[in-house]
Amino acid sequence: MKSDEQLMLEFQGGTAAAFEELFERYRNPIYGFFRRRLNNAGRAEELAQETFVIILRGVEQYEPQAKFRTYVYAIATKQLWSERRKDIRAGRFAAEPQETSHESDPSTALWIRDALAQLDDGPREVLMLREYEQLSYDEIAEVLAVPINTVRSRLSRARTELKALLESQSARGISR
């Protein structure tokens, strides 16, 4: 199987099928990235599409030194921050209840989602990139533009806090 970087270089050379292959590899992960972070499924899909449009537009500037995975998640992260800034300006942020995907086990997914929402932005983002996007520490550091030690400490803190939150939620659930 060709690597993402090889496919990107082929697409630079004019092979449209290479981009289609890349798109098939990343369309669901990128959609998942936005879907878990935004309340609106439609907007998540639009942002996922815009991420690919940005890749299309910037294909000529892409350099193989950068890992495609890091490149694509860095773009998605910037898109997400931009969207959140817009939401804050429009006063929409955290105002709407988040819909839970029908694919999930309702109770556990809801607990996880609620507990994650209570974490601070920095630790939560590192934990989600690690657990859902399966990025390595180096990749997370590059995507978020933070030192690797920050990634380590944030991840450790996020896990500890999330565990505590889930345990307290579980205890409340049992007591009810």
Binding site: N28, R57, S104, A109, I112, Y132, L155, K163
Partner: protein, 382 residues
């Protein structure tokens, strides 16, 4: 707990669990976990948490998103191919552009200098054609040529001039020919000409002349000589501010069109956005064309004054020398008599119908009064 007592830092457990440590360090921690219950529990917790987190699943993307992204990719590819077609030109080094520019300038000089010299030696062809005595009134095509030769925006104020003249003349035929001559000599043209009436009756002629504004005054003087001026009016309208405003709006619209074209070329958005941009370009183009037509019309009106001339023939009734025959006169008298008889009967009927109701009304009032008065009179006598 110090590092001496506990050889693994707590922060190293997470990288171990996530597989982010090198082989030697990972092996060291693995050995440690076999003997340290606390650390083993911490790693087990992380594993459990990770499994719990995977419960939050997300549905796949829609087919619509897939299709629209791939459509965008195809558009992008087409645009790229089109750019590559011109790459032989855009990728040239700077010296190649310089050389091409120098060659173009040389060709331009070679072509333009002799024609410039020729044009100084003789009149411009349009004026020459107009000054020829054999030429009739200037045609619309020639007028358009003159208009193109004029500068688009005069530096001074822009005045639209118009005039109306009503003239009575004895020499009607000569006037018509003279109007055509005045139009030709003024380097203008006859926009419209209508003649009515028969020879011997009072004929009228209505003409609209479009003459260069600078020559309109001289032409009016000539037109007044056609006969007695019965009515004259002149009107001037300053449209400088309107013209400047139109020019500014046109420039803005052209800039907008350019920006939209650039935007479309870069094709930054999704397919519906591209369609929106194309629709906007078409709307702006329509506005530009409408404004260009207005500008052309305004230029035309400023450069060419409008003179409306109405020429009436002075009519004098002729003396009839012949008289009708006796038979005709008798027949006419009989017919007139019959008409008079019918007319009188009709008039009498009309009078009865008109006055009848009034007479009846007054009779109903007056007759009893008269009868009563007579009775009283008789009683006094008796």
């Amino acid at each position: 707990m110090t590092h001496r007592e506990h050889p693994i830092w707590e922060e190293e457990l997470m990288p171990y669990f996530d597989g982010q440590l090198d082989e030697a360090k990972a092996s060291e921690i693995a050995n440690h976990l076999e003997t340290c219950e606390d650390c083993a529990a911490a790693v087990a917790d992380a594993k459990g948490l990770s499994q719990q987190m995977t419960e939050w699943k997300v549905e796949d993307t829609s087919q619509k998103m897939r299709e629209s992204t791939l459509t965008e990719m195809r558009l992008q590819e087409r645009s790229k191919r089109s750019r590559q077609r011109w790459a032989w030109w855009t990728n040239r080094p700077v010296w190649a552009y310089g050389l091409t520019g120098a060659v173009a300038a040389l060709v331009l000089l070679t072509v333009s200098v002799p024609s410039l010299l020729r044009s100084r030696e003789s009149n411009p062809p349009i004026i020459a054609a107009l000054s020829s005595p054999s030429e009739a009134v200037v045609t619309q095509q020639e007028f358009n040529k003159i208009q193109r030769a004029q500068p688009e925006a005069p530096s001074g104020p822009m005045i639209i001039r118009s005039a109306r003249l009503a003239i009575v003349t004895k020499d009607f035929d000569g006037s018509r020919a003279r109007i055509e001559t005045i139009a030709r000599e003024s380097q203008g043209y006859l926009d419209q000409l209508t003649a009515q009436g028969e020879v011997g009756s009072g004929r009228t002629l209505s003409a609209t002349l479009r003459l260069p504004s600078g020559r309109a005054e001289t032409a009016l003087v000539e037109l007044r000589k056609l006969g007695k001026v019965r009515q004259e009016s002149q009107n001037s309208s300053d449209v400088t501010s309107q013209y400047v405003d139109l020019q500014a709006r046109l420039t803005n619209a052209r800039n907008t069109e350019q920006r939209l074209t650039d935007l479309l070329r870069e094709r930054t958005g999704k397919l519906p956005e591209v369609v929106d941009v194309e629709r906007e370009i078409s709307r702006v183009r329509e506005t530009i064309e409408r404004m260009q037509a207005q500008q052309k019309d305004m230029n035309n009106k400023v450069q060419f004054a409008t003179i409306q001339v109405t020429v009436s023939e002075e009519y004098r009734a002729g003396i009839e020398l012949s008289s009708p025959s006796a038979g005709t006169r008798l027949r006419n008298a009989l017919i007139d008599g019959y008409h008079s008889a019918v007319e009188s009967v009709l008039n009498a009927a009309l009078l009865v119908l008109l006055c009848g109701p009034v007479l009846l009304l007054w009779s109903a009032v007056l007759i009893p009064v008269i009868l009563l008065a007579r009775r009283i009179y008789r009683m006094r006598l008796g």
